[in-house]
């Protein structure tokens, strides 16, 4: 095979594509992971609720239901192997009246049909015993002990790194512009550049319909649905489980949840939008989050908000995940329409897609030297004093704190860059530098200096997240003193 020929090209380096890449990397195949963005985890996988759902929401018999429950089963092991934070904190869906009570009963029954373990219907008081900050007006709740929280971008990055360690190549900043059939393969063009792949996996998130159409499969469309969030400072976290309201036809409703880093958030809203790239936060969204989150948790301190953000769900026209071999092109494997619970489902989708690749005709021989584990970047802040001292002994750069809010050291930032961070946001997602209460006001110039030094790039070329997101407009004009 020539350098530009692959067995499998995965389009989209969100959690779906990266999980597939990792699953595939245990076999002797040549695979490439392609994304338009300059980093992995730049789509929905970067901005979502981070919940490993129990699976009582999905319609029994649907692909979503199957993937969700299987994904939940696999998730903890994946997180352990990949050193990704995971906390099985459980979830509550809360109800305020008889209508809600009926919805909770329905959810409970759906859960049973879907094979969800550890569910229980609770009275208001029982629910408050589990979660003391709940509203006194809560009359009933559904507890799901298998629900968990994780870090979606860490999961995505970890899968991508582990896949790379096992031989999968990354091609970032490479937007797929056309797919054409050529000699029993597919030519994947990315602007001027291109490669040949025997099989193409479509994991392009909200743009998966466009990718599919490039090979003549127009059996579905994807429409964007935005979800906005407000994230609060750590010292104000007042919930220990995930608190949902009863779902509506627009989704699972606005929830209040702790994060694996000890913060708390309220969100998401659910708004159909026209522009697939619209991740702006609106005044209406903030107003809605304020009202709804106070309904669940009246004591929530919304003055402690440190940032707001939004993600875009990929809603499939079919109403279910689209996972299968395309009818229009047998070399195209779809992992499309991966709306919520897509994060939860990612390990299960990866298993399923790899099975489908085999079914489509690629023979998969296990790799002798496959290594399923990936080590996290050392987290200075979480080490004991002895371990901290030892780490600095080994590399003094771990003794220089760059981000003061989150206590992130130069050593961590250098390691993040070594592993592929090219932008300020790339460093942020890998290390948390700039994710604390001052939101980078203090450390951003310092992170930029390290990026510039390590990458050998002038400061004026650095970006926040790639593309045209330049941080500076130039250097000072010469002044005569």
């Amino acid at each position: 095979m020539s350098v530009n020929e692959y067995d499998v090209a995965i389009i989209g380096a969100g959690v779906t594509g990266c999980a597939i890449a990792r699953q595939l990397s245990q076999y002797s195949v040549r695979a490439v992971l392609i994304d338009a963005a300059e980093d992995v985890a730049m789509g929905a996988s970067r901005a979502n609720s981070a919940i490993v759902h129990a699976g009582y929401d999905c319609k029994p018999g649907s692909c979503e239901a199957r993937m969700n429950v299987r994904g939940n089963e696999l998730f903890e092991t994946w997180c352990r192997d990949l050193s990704v934070p995971f906390n099985r904190c459980g979830s509550l869906v809360i109800g305020f009246d008889d209508d809600d009570a009926k919805t909770l009963q329905d959810l409970y029954e759906r859960g049973l049909a879907n094979g969800v373990p550890e569910m229980k219907l609770l009275s208001g008081d029982e629910a408050r015993a589990v979660e003391p900050s709940l509203s006194p007006l809560v009359t009933k709740a559904l507890w799901a002990g298998s629900a968990a929280i994780t870090c979606p971008y860490q999961m995505t990055i970890a899968c991508a790194e582990n896949a790379r360690d096992n031989g999968v190549e990354w091609r970032l900043g490479a937007r797929v512009t056309s797919l054409t059939r050529e000699d029993g393969c597919i030519r994947v063009a990315m602007g001027e550049k291109s490669l040949l792949a025997r099989y193409v996996v479509n994991a392009a998130g909200v743009y998966a319909d466009e990718i599919s159409r490039m090979l003549g499969d127009d059996s579905f469309t994807i429409s964007p649905r935005k979800g906005e969030y407000m994230l609060m400072d750590r010292k104000n976290t007042c919930v220990r489980t995930v608190v949902f309201q009863t779902p509506t036809k627009m989704g699972k409703g606005i929830l209040v949840s702790p994060t694996v880093d000890g913060n708390m958030f309220a969100g998401p809203t659910s708004v159909d939008i026209a522009d697939k790239g619209d991740t702006s936060v609106t005044a209406e969204g903030i107003a809605q989050l304020t009202e709804k989150s106070k309904k669940s948790v009246p004591g929530i301190n919304l003055r402690a908000v440190i940032t707001s953000f939004a993600g875009v769900r990929a809603q499939p026209s079919t109403g279910d995940f689209i996972i299968g071999i395309s009818k229009a092109e047998p070399r195209l494997i779809q992992a499309a329409g991966i709306c919520s619970p897509g994060l939860t489902s990612s390990p299960a989708i990866a298993e399923e897609i790899v099975r489908l690749i085999e079914k489509a005709g690629l023979s998969l021989a296990p790799k002798a030297d496959y290594c399923p584990t990936r080590k996290a970047i050392p987290e200075f802040r979480h080490l004991s004093r002895e371990e901290q001292a030892e780490l600095i002994e080994r590399d003094p750069r771990f003794g220089r704190v760059i981000c003061r809010c989150e206590t992130i050291t130069e050593g961590e930032i250098v390691e993040a860059i070594r592993r592929g961070a090219r932008t300020v946001d790339g460093v942020k997602r890998r290390t948390r530098a700039g994710m604390g209460r001052c939101q980078g006001g203090f450390c951003m110039p310092r992170v930029m200096e390290i990026l510039s030094r390590e990458l050998g790039a002038p400061m004026t070329e650095l970006t926040k997240f790639g593309g045209g997101s330049r941080l500076l407009t130039g250097i000072l004009k010469e002044v005569d003193d």
């Binding site: 702006s280 005044a283 969204g285 001292a389 003094p396 003794g399 997240f465 130039g474 250097i475 004009k477």
Partner: protein
């Protein structure tokens, strides 16, 4: 872990920390004093404040920030105070153990006889204001932009809109204009500026930069880099945007100068009482916190508009820390000082009974008043009174009391006021 002992450990090497260390050493020359600073140089935020306007009160002449800091740094050099640079304090324990980390010394603990907190403050950010819109490059806090321009020689943008008329924003409006950028507007949500009047004149008026009161940013536009910012008028009572007044300004940068917050993570973690209004520790007139032997001064205690006041306050704190470390702590009872009637907060929040001499009480008002009279009462007795033509939230006020008159809790309030 390396363990050292000092009589006085000062956390932070800005103007507050430097003045406190010097004052401690002067009070008790036999004591060992250390300053721990996370930056590679002393001087704190003054390093990046290269404009004039520091020291008029303290030195009787106008200096730049670095010049002002250098006066203290020069004195530190020959004073016998040990300085640890590039060293970050991670933890302060109730037993006054200061745990810090540096590339040079690894982890180090300092067991201190007394501790002075002088960690300064940080800037409020976009997130805290919940500004809607996209999240592109080009949104900076004013202090971050100040650092980029003044310390790195880099331009954060060419066409700039500034939200908030705090001093740093005003100074940056002028600085960026001088460097060839266009400042299209300074928008201030309040009907008055939180900055010094002289900065409004020298930075905005003299450079023809428009300032709009009762205006705020309601949207940020641009996916990758800021492309435009929407500004709307607010209802002066609710401070909510008035629909229909939105105006969109094309620009590539939004600077935020929307307030400073004392940096008290170490303080809170040590269990020290925090005043919810100042966001700094509750202190007595020596600047001792609720944890015996721990003192606080400068912006970590409350945000100052003039560094001169920081130096004065730090001198008090340093002296008291030295006295504490050498066993001369006051055991007298303390009384509460409370801001009432238009006075948002006071520092100190407690005073000792039975002292001689004068005690200065600093305070800020919550609105603009012209004129106003501040009155200190002990019970029903008026013990001090001060009338001024104008009092505004942007300028810290001071009133001096005769310490001997403190026989109970005090209130500081405005009387005979005329809110404007």
């Amino acid at each position: 872990m390396l363990v050292k002992k000092y009589d006085v450990a000062v956390i932070g090497g800005g103007p507050a920390g430097l003045a406190a260390a010097l004052s401690a050493k002067e009070r008790e020359p036999g004591l060992t004093v250390a300053v721990i600073e996370r930056d590679k140089a002393l001087g704190g935020i003054l390093q990046q404040c290269i404009h004039n306007g520091f020291g008029l009160h303290y030195f009787g002449e106008e200096l730049t920030g670095p010049e002002y800091a250098n006066r203290f740094i020069e004195r530190i050099k020959g004073s016998g105070v040990d300085v640890y640079l590039d060293t970050m304090v991670l933890e302060l324990t109730p037993e006054r153990r200061v745990v810090c980390v540096s590339a040079a010394n690894g982890l180090m603990a300092i067991d201190a006889g007394a501790v002075v907190l002088a960690m300064g403050c940080r800037e409020r950010t976009r997130g805290a204001l919940n500004i809607p819109g996209t999240r592109p490059a080009g949104v900076y806090t004013a202090g971050c932009a100040q650092r980029l321009v003044n310390m790195e020689g880099l331009m954060p943008g060419k066409k700039v809109l500034i939200l908030g008329s705090g001093d740093i924003g005003l100074i940056m409006a002028r600085r960026l204009t001088w460097e060839g950028a266009k400042v299209v507007l300074v928008a201030e949500i309040m009907p008055y500026s939180s900055g010094l009047n002289r900065n409004i004149v020298q930075c905005l008026v003299d450079n023809g930069i428009p300032l709009k009161f009762n205006h705020t940013v309601t949207n940020i536009i641009g996916k990758e880099r800021v492309e435009a910012v929407t500004v709307a008028e607010v209802d002066p009572r609710t401070r909510l945007p008035i629909t229909g007044t939105e105006q969109t300004y094309e620009c590539d940068t939004l600077l935020l100068s929307v307030g400073l917050l004392p940096e008290n993570e170490l303080t809170s973690a040590a269990g020290i009482d925090i005043d919810p209004v100042t966001n700094g520790a509750v202190v007595d007139e020596t600047r001792q916190t609720s944890l015996a032997g721990v003192f606080a001064c400068g912006n970590v205690l409350h945000v100052h508009d003039l560094v001169d006041n920081v130096s004065d306050e730090a001198t008090l704190a340093g002296r008291a820390a030295a006295e504490y470390a050498s066993g001369q702590a006051s055991r007298q009872q303390t009384y509460a000082v409370k801001g009432v009637n238009g006075v948002r907060y006071t520092v100190p929040q407690r005073v000792h009974a039975g002292l001689d001499g004068k005690t200065d009480i600093y305070f800020r008002v919550g609105n603009a008043y012209r004129p106003a009279t501040a009155v200190v009462r002990c019970g029903d007795t008026v013990i001090a009174k001060r009338r001024k033509q104008i009092m505004t939230p942007g300028e810290m006020e001071k009133i001096t009391i005769d310490a001997a008159l403190v026989t109970g809790d005090l209130t500081v309030g405005l009387e005979e006021v005329n809110p404007s």
